[in-house]
Amino acid sequence: MELIFEESVRGRKGLRLPKCDVPQAKDISGRYKREKPAQLPEVSELDVVRHFTRLSRMNFSVDTHFYPLGSCTMKYNPKFTENIAKLTGFSQLHPLLPQLLLGGMLTQGALEVLYNVERLLVEITGMTEVTTEPLAGAHGELTGMMLIAAYHRDKGSRKKYVIVPDSSHGTNPASAAIAGYQTISIPTDKNGVMDFKEYKNKLNSEVAGLMLTCPNTVGIFNSQIKEICSLAHRNDALVYYDGANLNAILGKVRPGDIGFDIVHLNLHKTFATPHGSGGPGSGPVGVRKDLTQFLPVPKVIKRPDGTYALEENRQKSIGRIASFYGNFDVLLKTYAYILLLGKTGLIEVSEKAVLNANYIAVKLKKYYDLAYDRICMHECVFSATRQLANGVHALDIAKALIDRGFHPPTIYFPLIVKEAMMIEPTESESKHSLDRFIAAMRGIAELSQNNPEVVKSAPLNTAVSRPDETKAARELNLRWIA
């Protein structure tokens, strides 16, 4: 398709601006001025509408396709939450208003939302306090690492290492590194969980913290979590909970109850806020009691008189990690989602998410190798090793699924499973929808056996097929040039 820039016609305009109702001001000196206008598109509003409407139709999405992308929790995003974020009482509110004298009283509704979201997330995670500020999961991780550093700094120590299992998501080691830590990687044992012996061996007094995903990224809940946490604590290492997989355990277990010290949640996963083609997300961080003093500011507090206010000075706070209070619109949608589902609804989410994943695992394991053949949690991971014997990679299976109207599972991750296909159906999908997916996967398995070339030539039904990634990286073309 043409780029919007390529649709430009010199002199064409899209938008009518308000008329200027003040006198034209004296110009600034030429040295401060732009030489030539930016070559933005010169298109009509209809051009813009057609262009982006057509682009939209080239995407798969939850609303159009089953989207079992493992680790991403692509559940249904309730429509009514979109309307809530559009309420002008929220959408037109300047974030600095509550920081002005008297402004706090004029933003009580927004502050109450932040406060209530925090309280709900506290109850859901079993932590003591939550900051809503982190803007995505990885941002939460980085915040968590800074909290760990603050904790040790406060004790006068400066530890060097953070432990991460090799099954961990790439953001975990990256966050630790960026926060100034070196990482120690622990292998996964044959049951799909962190090798306990190895962990014990690597743990030492220079370890500042340990990052765990639980259930982990192969969909398995480690029954030894408590022991793992205790061991860390005995070494004065803090344990960080990557909450990307919380969808599996709502109301079943709370990280705060089993020894985790710091937790981040991915609201855009567990709490059904839309992924927006890759963001915005929201990654609130919860901590146990003695860490609350380090949380970033500002924080919303409830005063004895029932009003809400911003606490801007927390002496030991790590400071500011984002411009304001988090991705407020995402928090609003989360709040609405939790209120709608309530306690029973949230528990049901996890039960049905786990049911769906196991159903797929059982129905497909005759056709594909399960990485770990056991009851799983919210997702199951297959390996295309059997298909590889015929030259068919997980990537090929992914492309064949696209032809059949399904978004592929995650295949670039986890790195510890060869030719991984990580399938997370979520609770939103019906048995019918799973059955259709299972049938497609079975069909592809058979085709991989009988006619692998066909699978390898997929997709056929899409506007583009197998873009050349090497060319993309070598002959960098990252922008339109006039």
């Binding site: 609303d63 002005l100 939302v113 079993g126 550093a149 080691p173």
Partner: protein, 445 residues
């Protein structure tokens, strides 16, 4: 319900197929003693009840104050097409475009967004978005450390104080030499910068217009910065680039900014959009996702995520950044906004902001005891010095229905009487005049 489709009948059938007797059995890996200590949540409600609740909360906020508050976060008009198009479910219910064949829509839009950011800033490459303007500036700093292998950063006191606090926060645990160039009554000097610039300096961070709204041409500073082997990082306000000399033209190395003004609502602080652009030679050190154009196997134009080898999902602890989810939908809004605004539209919009702010300056200057600072030209934001502490004056103005600007004493000790006032294209002449009348009344009645 609760958006779960399963009927009891289906659950039974599925459990049977799995070979277990109950849902509980599926959770058997969770030891019984791990049971939640509590899970005290309210019971569910219908969307209608939840909506009413949130409507009530929304109505408690004075979102309709006449807004003269900016500080990097601006009250601009948003054309209706922006939300109409970004509200297409195919965009907002999709994930990161890992699978190009079923994500060409997002990929092309982001490529277009990157192009627009480059055009706006006069830079060569831009990434697919970062969280917000503040974290983008932090990422730029980190990037400069990586590129230069040095570890000292100078940051001008005229950079948004919120961003400066963010920078401090993130670097506390790292061994970075962080120098803030002081400002005095809203003015920093080149001499102060040059004093600290040395061969350990990785980057000098500047902002234009600066936090006080003042416009500058940093070309001379940047020349000196380059002579010292350091990089120049510019934080910019995109709407102002319809009028102001571009950071690219000043020879900046990395440019970042808050994209909120490009079609995103203020929304109490988020979701916003951080953008980052740089020179092509630094692209492999750039954080964040990047979309590139390539050809598919039939030779057709196609877009993909590229240079992924920089990213956490491949490089893990060696990645250029830990970012994963970014602000894709906000970037989409920005490119839609910039497309419908268009080449001339941006010029006109910038002019409109400038003219309104100049009119406001003239109007306010006529009030007894109000001194409008004119030492530098400004874009759509400027400082005024009031006869007494601006904090209380702000409270009185709020009572009168205005969101009157930021009292600068909070961030600058020597500026207790100062107010930072912003006037965008949304403010009418009539509102500006009323603002002035009310300010006068607050000051002298």
């Amino acid at each position: 319900m609760s958006y779960i489709p399963h009927t009891d009948q289906e659950v039974k059938q599925m459990l049977k197929d799995i070979g277990v007797c109950s849902l509980d059995e599926l959770f058997k890996d969770i030891p019984p003693q791990y049971q939640p200590a509590s899970f005290n949540l309210p019971e569910g409600r219908s969307e209608f009840e939840v909506y009413e609740h949130l409507k009530r909360l929304a109505d408690k906020n004075a979102a309709s104050l006449v807004n003269f508050l900016g500080c990097g976060f601006y009250d601009h008009n948003i054309p209706a097409v922006v939300d109409a198009l970004a509200g297409r479910a195919e965009f907002y219910t999709a994930y990161t475009p890992y699978q190009p064949e079923c994500s060409q829509g997002t990929l092309q839009a982001i490529y277009e967004y990157q192009s627009a950011i480059c055009l706006l800033t006069d830079m060569e490459v831009a990434n697919a978005s970062l969280y917000d303007g503040g974290t983008a500036l932090y990422e730029a700093g980190m990037m400069a450390l990586r590129i230069t292998g040095r570890n000292k950063i100078l940051i001008d006191g005229g950079v948004n104080p919120i961003y400066r606090r963010i920078m401090y926060t993130y670097t506390t645990n790292l061994s970075i030499d962080f120098v803030e160039i002081p400002v005095s009554h809203g003015q920093s000097t080149r001499e102060e910068i040059y004093k600290h610039l040395d061969d350990k300096t990785a980057a000098v961070i500047l902002q234009n217009p600066n936090f006080f709204g003042a416009i500058d041409d940093h070309s001379d500073i940047i020349k000196r910065v380059h002579q010292a082997g350091a990089l120049a990082i510019e934080s910019v306000y995109p709407v102002s680039l319809g009028m102001l000399k571009t950071p690219g033209n000043m020879d900046a190395d990395i440019v970042t900014g808050e994209g909120q003004s490009l079609g995103l609502p203020l929304s109490f602080g988020g979701s916003y959009l951080g953008f980052l652009a740089t020179r092509k030679k630094h692209v492999r050190k750039m954080p964040g996702r990047i979309v590139g154009e390539t050809a598919d196997k039939r030779g057709n134009r196609a877009f993909v995520l590229t240079l992924q080898a920089r990213e956490q999902h491949i490089r893990r602890e060696k990645a250029t950044s830990n970012i994963c989810s970014n602000e894709s939908l906000c970037a989409l809004k920005a490119i839609i906004y910039l497309s419908v605004l268009g080449k001339q539209g941006l010029v006109d919009l910038a002019r409109l902001n400038f003219d309104k702010a100049e009119f406001a300056k003239d109007t306010l200057a006529r009030i007894k005891g109000v001194e409008v600072k004119r030492s530098s030209p400004t874009f759509n934001e400027f400082t005024v010095c009031l006869p007494r502490d601006s904090r209380e004056i702000v409270a009185s103005m709020i009572e009168r229905g205005f969101n009157p600007g930021l009292p600068l004493g909070k961030y600058y000790e020597d500026m207790k009487n100062y107010l930072l006032v912003c006037v965008t294209e949304r403010r009418t002449k009539e509102e500006i005049v009323r603002y002035a009348e009310n300010l006068e009344a607050v000051l002298w009645n």
